[in-house]
């Protein structure tokens, strides 16, 4: 596989689209079960998209495919013009551009907060420890948790841990942030502190793709809401129309369930 070939394709894609993420006909199956059946979705730079859908609809799988945590079986994914093919080439390049925040935070339990944030910049980007620490403290301050830098994850509340996880992702200077149900493992009183950080991030122009059921956040922040069911995009619209005038029966049923 010539390097030139890939670069050319990347350049070409960059010229054709200025999309941050471009997904075409994405398919993914676990054994006999088809989780994604031909999903096509384009995320423009700076765009904020909220993905929702019933559990098992494939929304987590979709965003986990974007940074190669799951291999897709068919279709194409391009992130900032870099192709992520099904056998995993390009995955390291993509991962450095894309930050991810998980439902269960997934902080490294044996490292302090600061070490959690400096680990990847030092080892994946080759920053010096001092430089990495400086960057980490900047982002920890951004999520208002710099004073806890010396603690271990287990000593923080869930909301604090999730904010650290966001800072950890930001330390890699990602162009795109993926959020996989970032507030669903939190106690209710901690949800807002995380959402606030996410809203600030959105206001600063970050490209964001969020799987979430926080309708308030969707209304406030999302440029577009996408409804996924049974591995297909059933409906997408701007937040206003999405909630006020859903077209499909399935989305109406889903929203009814959510609001109850």
């Amino acid at each position: 596989m010539g390097l030139a070939f890939q670069t050319d394709l990347g350049l070409d894609a960059r010229l054709r689209h200025r999309a941050a993420i471009e997904i075409r006909g994405l398919r993914k199956r676990y054994g006999a079960q088809e989780v994604l059946r031909g999903v096509t979705l384009t995320v423009e730079r700076g765009e904020k998209i909220v993905l929702c859908g019933p559990s098992g609809s494939g929304k987590s799988t979709l965003i986990r495919c974007i940074n190669g945590l799951e291999r897709h079986d068919g279709g194409t994914i391009a992130v900032n013009g870099v192709d992520l093919d099904a056998d995993g080439r390009g995955v390291q390049d993509v991962r450095r551009e894309v930050g991810m925040v998980f439902q269960h935070f997934n902080l490294f339990p044996h490292m302090t907060i600061l070490e959690n944030c400096t680990f990847a910049p030092r080892h994946a980007l080759g920053l010096s420890p001092a430089k990495a620490a400086e960057r980490a403290m900047h982002h920890l301050a951004r999520v208002r948790i710099a004073d806890q830098a010396g603690k271990y994850p287990a000593q923080l509340s869930g909301g604090q841990q999730q904010r650290v996880a966001i800072a950890r992702a930001l330390c890699m200077d990602p162009k795109i942030m993926l959020f996989d149900e970032p507030t669903s493992a939190l106690d209710p009183e901690m949800v807002s502190e995380v959402l606030q950080v996410m809203e600030e991030l959105a206001a600063q122009g970050m490209t964001m793709l969020c799987v979430t059921h926080e309708m308030g956040f969707a209304r406030h922040v999302a440029d577009r809401c996408v409804f996924l069911d049974h591995g297909e995009i059933v409906e997408q619209a701007d937040a206003e129309r999405f909630f006020a005038a859903p077209e499909s029966e399935r989305l109406r049923a889903f929203l009814n369930q959510m609001l109850r």
């Binding site: 940074n67 190669g68 945590l69 390291q92 991962r95 450095r96 894309v98 930050g99 991810m100 998980f102 269960h104 935070f105 997934n106 902080l107 490294f108 339990p109 044996h110 490292m111 302090t112 680990f119 990847a120 080892h123 994946a124 010396g150 603690k151 271990y152 994850p153 287990a154 000593q155 996880a165 950890r168 992702a169 890699m172």
Partner: protein, 261 residues
């Protein structure tokens, strides 16, 4: 039935010599076990079916066999192979000490394989995925995230195994090495005092096992200082529970860890 303090004092040099041999063998076997165990664990966990089967067989044989049998096999068996007898390897296998360390090391490493494998598979996928998502290479993720977490999980089980095998080093008497038990036996055969040398040696073993236990517990506290007081211990039960014997005494030392500043 009496303890002869004068005899105990006179036997000290001989017993300490034996104790030194026991310590030397224990330390060497730990080193051999760590290296062999880590290597064979990778083989055992290989995706290649043949390699994995080889690893499983290694564990089944070397863990299932009593260590004294492995000692005899290495000491009496291997020199019969021409690859050992007709090459410079012969020099190694002519040494009882080498054979003892290898035999016990094979046994110990099989336990290390299973402890490490259990610990590695108990590591939750979350932190590993998070590290991958940050663009770190799989090798680095293994060495810096999965393995360190696994070591913390497996430490208690490893401690149990080391304490058990320290006591099983008495088997080296079978290949003519004079360890602590051998030294005590020797003194018995000269004095016919059944208690003094054996009880003194027993006290020395007790001191060794307990120092080692304390060292492991200090290491455990150090490695697990991230488990703050009042935070539920999320490690699997096997990581928290030591063997029943030492668990008795661990209860005493369970003071709450101080939260880091």
């Amino acid at each position: 039935m009496s303890f002869d303090f004068a005899l105990a004092w006179d036997s000290m040099p001989a017993l300490l010599n034996g104790a030194w041999m026991t310590v030397l063998i224990t330390a060497s076997v730990m080193a051999v076990g760590a290296v062999l165990g880590f290597g064979m664990c990778l083989v055992r966990m290989s995706r290649n079916r043949v390699l994995a089967a080889v690893g499983a067989a290694y564990v089944a044989v070397f863990r299932g066999a009593p260590s004294i049998v492995l000692l005899y096999l290495v000491y009496a068996g291997l020199p019969q192979l021409s690859i050992v007898r007709d090459t410079p390897l012969w020099v190694l296998f002519a040494s009882p000490l080498f054979c003892a360390i290898l035999g016990l090391g094979l046994n110990h490493s099989a336990y290390v394989v299973e402890i490490l494998r259990g610990a590695l598979s108990a590591v939750p996928p979350g932190p590993v995925e998070a590290a991958l998502a940050l663009g770190l290479s799989p090798r680095l993720v293994f060495l810096k995230v999965r393995l360190p977490i696994a070591v913390r999980y497996g430490l208690k089980a490893y401690q149990n195994e080391v304490l058990i095998f320290l006591k099983s080093t008495v088997a080296v008497g079978a290949v003519t090495i004079a360890d602590l038990t051998g030294a005590a036996n020797e003194i018995f055969s000269m004095t016919y005092d059944p208690f003094t040398p054996l009880v003194t040696a027993g006290a020395m073993y007790w001191a060794m096992t307990n120092s080692l236990r304390l060292a492991f517990e200090a290491l455990d506290r150090r490695l697990n200082r991230h488990l703050a007081a009042g935070v539920p211990d999320s490690r699997p039960a096997t990581a928290r529970r030591a063997d029943p014997g030492s668990a008795l005494f661990r209860r005493l030392r369970r003071s709450p860890a101080k939260p880091a500043e």
